[in-house]
Amino acid sequence: MMRISSKQTKVFYKVLVWCFLISGTILFCLPLAWMISTSLKPLSQIWIFPPKWIPKPVLWGNYIAALKIFPFHLFFANTCIITLFSLIGLIISSSLCAYGFARLRFPGRDFLFMIVLSVLMLPFIVILIPRYILFRYLGWIDTFKPLIVPNYFGVGGYGVFSIFLLRQFFRQIPLDLSDSARIDGCSEFGIYARMIMPLSKPGLIAITIFAFLYNWNDFLEPLIYINTPEKFTVALGLTCFTDLYYTNWSYLMAGSVVAIVPVLIVFFYLQRYFIRGIVLTGLKT
């Protein structure tokens, strides 16, 4: 008798949690659903209250119009160039550094690692002003270089996180493997390049996703370094037109959908690496 009732309360709790999660999910999805709904509406349906959810008629043409206003192919290409070149640098520099911290012993290692980590705590604006002056002095303003070059030194957008994350991955590989490779006469760089890197593919994929998202989302840095509209990233491109089009919400929402879709595709497609990466960075601090 006791048993059944405790089982019943368990089921009851589960249903309660389930209902709570369902309503939470609906609430969390509302903004995106509203964005999609607005993006398909004719203007006459935007300026009404209370608003209607289902666009009538469904205007797919809004997307074509939005793509004409926002030269997305250009912004998209710019963002991809920045992301690609940043990523190459980021992967090389952060994996080398993570290898040093994870698999070699040298004096001052842990202290240096703490210094690298403490960068996460710095307010970015303190660094940004002198960096701007430095890049201005080098004549790099209004080029992609200020956004790309720091990545080759592991201190770009997602650098420190990548070092941290890869270090966690590298540490999971048994040290005996390196030792036996050393006995076989393999150089340290050979161990890094031919053994550790291929074994850490999930980690490399995770930092690739994070770096992609970072470059896609970054707003403050492109805002400061890039001036000509032809060189704008997606973030700058979409937002610089907002003032002009605040009256036409369906175009703006269509533009937002186009800006978000690539990110969501990457997220859904590579979710498993993604979550693993976050878990590893979050837990071992």
């Binding site: 209250f49 550094c97 703006l252 929402m253």
Partner: protein, 301 residues
């Protein structure tokens, strides 16, 4: 003897290699992080507009900021209000969601994905979406609250409601701390609960005596990063409120940005940046001091 020599040789080799592997990042730290920090401290004692030669003014910038600049205090107030409102709420909701998502029920990965999804949406895009949702005349938010009988709100257009609106927008991104809590909950060894059950512990005492203490390191982690990052809110306010109405959403970074990149007060902005640096450092130390002692690590138990 030979063996010892070999060991020291191996040690030396490893040391040199170690430094070589981390050299590029160390160089980067010096050029792009530590150098700029020191440079901005240096610049904060100057008056400079990038074009005419800079001239030394000593502590004038700092004195002016603290004793004369009303907007500095306004931005500090606004930002503190935002951080103080957001971080505790965010932590509670994230913790609650993580607890619910740790129950074995159907559709768990679906729920986890949907609660995390807003974090993926770029901030610039979510700013535009929320600006439309919070539109006082035609927005979805007012449609929902009038449906349950509440009066229409002005949201971002009212000086009093603008910060709560920003907090609401940021709460949409609660998935970030949530996923870290969730990972932590899944790492709690089940034996602990089993032992407690044998001792006849209730669900409540299990929660307060096992779950919460074991989650304290993550609460600390999420709390500190939450404070540091929310203190630096910029993109949203820059894009949709521009500090308004009546400077009610003039956040600290927005104010510093204006001095640095719109008015070219490089020295003044550097001083503002350093003050923020010290504030964040102070808060971090305080959090560690007051909550660090209450943190339990599994090894200690």
């Amino acid at each position: 003897m030979i063996k010892r020599k070999r060991i020291t040789f191996q040690r030396h080799r490893e040391t040199i290699l170690g430094y070589l592997f981390i050299a590029p990042v160390c160089l980067g730290l010096i050029i792009f992080i530590l150098g700029p920090i020191i440079a901005s401290l240096f610049l904060s004692f100057f008056e400079w507009d990038l074009f005419t030669p800079p001239h030394w003014v000593g502590f004038k910038n700092y004195v002016k900021i603290i004793f004369q600049d009303k907007l500095f205090w306004q931005s500090l107030k606004v930002t503190s209000f935002y951080v103080g409102g957001l971080v505790p709420l965010q932590m509670m909701i994230a913790f609650l969601l993580a607890l619910f998502l740790n129950v074995k029920i159907k559709g768990l990965s679906f729920f986890r994905t949907t609660f995390y999804m807003p974090v993926i949406v770029p901030v610039f895009a979510s700013a535009i979406i929320w600006l439309w949702i919070l539109n006082p005349e035609f927005g979805l938010a007012n449609a929902l609250i009038t449906k349950i009988g509440l009066p229409k709100l002005m949201w971002l257009e009212s000086p009093r409601q603008v910060i709560p609106s920003l907090i609401l927008m940021s709460l949409w991104r609660v998935g970030q701390p949530m996923i870290i809590f969730l990972a932590g909950l899944q790492g709690v060894p089940t034996q602990l609960y089993e032992v407690a059950e044998i001792d006849g512990a209730t669900a409540r005492s299990k929660f307060f005596n096992i779950t919460v203490p074991l989650m304290t390191p993550l609460i600390l982690f999420n709390g500190i990063l939450g404070v540091i990052w929310s203190f630096q809110i910029f993109t949203t306010v820059y894009l949709i409120t521009d500090g308004g109405p009546a400077n009610a959403s003039l956040t600290y970074i927005l104010y510093t940005y204006r001095h640095a990149f719109e008015w070219l007060h490089i020295g003044y902005a550097s001083a503002l940046g350093w003050i923020l640096f010290l504030i964040i450092l102070g808060i971090t130390v305080l959090i560690f001091k007051y909550f660090g002692r209450r943190v339990y690590y599994l090894e200690r138990i």
